[in-house]
Amino acid sequence: MRKMEGQEVELSVVDLQKWFPVRKSFVSTLTSKKTKYVKAVDGVSFDIAKGEIFALAGESGCGKTTTGKTLLRLLEPTGGHIYFQGQDITGIGKREMKDLRRRMQIVYQDPYESLNPRMTVHDIIAEPISIHSLADTTAEVDELIYRSLKDVELVPPEEFIGRFPHELSGGQRQRVAIARTMVMNPEFIVADEPISMLDVSIRAGLLKIMLKSGEAKGVTYLFITHDLAYARHICDRGAIMYLGKIVEMSDMDGLVNNPLHPYTVALMAAVPVPDPQIEKAKAIISGEVPTPIDPPSGCRFHPRCPKATDLCNREEPKLKEHGEGHFVACHHI
């Protein structure tokens, strides 16, 4: 197993790719043009240490969700490898995947979509207990369900157990989703924008519930977010994505206080701050993210980059270390 600064690597992603074929129109099928692809994730590599909370951030459409789902093999990778606790899980079969499905979990943005609307809270949590044979008797099942509801502060559990998802608030639904996840004792969790649909006043409480119960057990998290302010306060390290690539990766302090890639610099400058005394957020680059079908050549950011030169158009920059643990993919650092 590889080591990171003396820490155990929980998850290692090497050159991960996920391309989606673009649906061809009838005419282009007839004229047999080559299939085009949305290169949603296009050569992404990172390691996450055991117990770490790692941020995957960037604007919508940059490939965060696709990365999260592909590394759990909820989507089949087009290329690359995923190592979980040292084991290459890229090609393993269904039977082996079943146990991994318990150990590697995902919490979605919209709990309404991830909870079966026809099941009660009791059954929603009982389901994974039965699938993974986590309890022997009904009494044990119920005890597990009660404990997990208490863990997510849905108390008293009796009050929630018989409800259906539509009888819960958004925050309560997300708590049920977390209870369902946590009851399986996962070792690694992809949290895909878990709070972005919730009210500001209850977000921190939800994060605490999700992260604290894992902290004690050494759970590792990939925290996917477009909100850099939350990432700053929750995560240890993180990566910034642009059009299917990681452009910068560092500890959160490095990303926030010392961004090096021109895109990260622009991103950080644009984050508004809840303090009128602080200098206003600025848009230091213009335009918007182009489509990942036929992305720009060379560095994908070059058409919007204030530092771009001919080289950036021609050659794709590699992710290189500039300062300890601070990786940047830019020709001009």
């Binding site: 500001v200 622009a266 848009a283």
Partner: protein
Amino acid sequence: MPILNVQDLRMYYSTLKGDVKAVDGVDLEVEKGEAIGLVGESGCGKTTFALSILRLLPYNGHFVSGKILFNGDDMLTVDDKTFNKEYRWKRLSYVFQGAMNAMNPVFRVGDQIAEAMLLHEDVEKEEAMDRVRGLFSLVGIDPDRVTNYPHEFSGGMKQRAMIAMALACNPEFIIADEPTTALDVIVQAQTLQVINDLRAKLGLTMMLITHDLSVVAQTCTTCAIMYAGRIVEYADIDTVFSEPKHPYTKALIGAFPSIKEAKRELVSIKGTPPNLLDPPTGCRFNPRCPYAMDICSKEVPKFIGLGGRHYAACHLLTGGDA
């Protein structure tokens, strides 16, 4: 004289389960040239408040009581026809929440904006299109793109076009409802820059509705904090952030992460925002308030002046006396 003066406004929605008290006793003054931020969590009544002022409430929304003065004129005595012709879009304008996705896909963007002018003013189509081109450059869109269809616009461009549309008839006052909520952070910064520039250039008065404190902190001159159908605190923007007096304002600021501060534990507010079908009695924040006293569930706190233009509605500020 304030450009907008709202007194004890109450607007409810009738539903099968009873009245949703979406706006329930709101007082608010907006001075000319100001940019006021109306901030609160989703469902607290921000959109309802805006729709009441513009008379755009859905069929089940009804006026209960209160006064709306625009430049001193009592809006509630103006009949609908006059309001449609003389006020809405012409003097007070609105950027709908989610407006950027509401453009009609089969008409050219420029035509949709010109339409607003043709409806309200005695202008020729040619002149209207010229003005649309002018508005496009004002909001930072290439004027040649007036002939584009909505799907040819990116998200940020659509939102700018909606702002241009709100400006079509040269209004004095513009209400923008969550204008950047659906946008990514860089496009949000671009859009807020456009809004700030417009305000400076055109001397607009504006109300920015948002759930995002940081957006208000960076664009507004004054701020009203709304909770469960009422304004709980109002002050100039610096005062709201440096000397918040209402426990809800304080808690909301505490819950809001800043990218510029050192890593810290984020604090949430216990409980959840109330259902406005049956809101808590007294101060509506009392079930979630760490400082709640006996009186808080019994009596509605008055909106009291704290010096200057700082107001808050909390029993703590009067030592618990009613």
